[in-house]
Symmetry: C2
Subunit: 153 residues, 2 copies
């Protein structure tokens, strides 16, 4: 796949916030945070990272591409699991250092543990809260060993 | 305010993913990414960062506290603007390196530019897409110069 030319250098202040030029602010590792939400339920499915190439391919194809920090590898979500993410809408935030995609999640779930969302545990609030997590989605929607062959994210 | 004792050291693999102990994985700068969504609409309002103290205070009080990387300062969302975030539910992701809070956003908006959400611009998809952003929420819900006195985030 031919990738696009490079993004413009990031601006700051009003240039970044009020402009119509996409000039993403990658961090020191060349990554930008991406939040994927389910376009129907609004639930956050996952938080992951994109490098410039992943962001370019995501824009060009409408499928979510990420950069895995643990595997040091560009990947298309679903390339091994079949659980890809088709983007309904893509947005950038005020200072252009975060991306939000509303997606149609293919297959039973987005999380490599087999759940629909990576955020399957709740943190109780209040003084003394937070010590013990509460499962909100304990059962797996699919068997990750079958879908991924081995645990990976 | 008395802050809680420190969090346990982060685990990895099944320990982090299947356990009921909150052991957040802070990055090299001592921060964890937090996504705040509107509890009613499901829209992403902002992506920000928490250090251990911000996370502790958020859990203890049910109000969103963040750490500003630009101002190098712990802050309670709304402390200067009045536009605080009351947490309806708080979750942690599989490998415990991201937080999701569903909030009741006080006041007209969460963004320091005066919009309801920080994600007020859309990135068009397709080959050649992404060069030009499209405003989805151009008008400001409030005047940031009045609310903040000066631009800050």
């Amino acid at each position: 796949m031919d990738d696009m030319k490079e993004f413009p250098l990031p601006g700051s202040g009003p240039q970044a916030e009020e402009g119509i030029v996409l000039a993403p602010k990658f961090d020191a590792n060349g990554l930008i945070t991406c939040v994927a939400t389910d376009a129907r339920s609004g639930d956050v499915l996952m938080v992951a990272h994109m490098n410039a190439q992943a962001l370019q391919r995501t824009i060009a194809t409408g499928d979510a591409w990420y950069y895995s920090r643990s595997r040091k590898k560009l990947w298309r979500k679903g390339e091994s699991s079949g659980h890809g993410q088709r983007i309904i809408e893509m947005r950038v935030d005020c200072d252009q250092d975060a991306i939000w995609i509303r997606v149609h999640q293919h297959g039973p779930g987005a999380c490599h543990t087999g759940r629909r969302s990576c955020f399957y545990r709740s943190i109780p609030l209040g003084e003394g809260g937070g010590a013990t997590l509460e499962f909100r989605e304990r059962e797996r929607a699919f068997d990750p060993d079958v879908v991924y062959g081995e645990k990976k994210k």
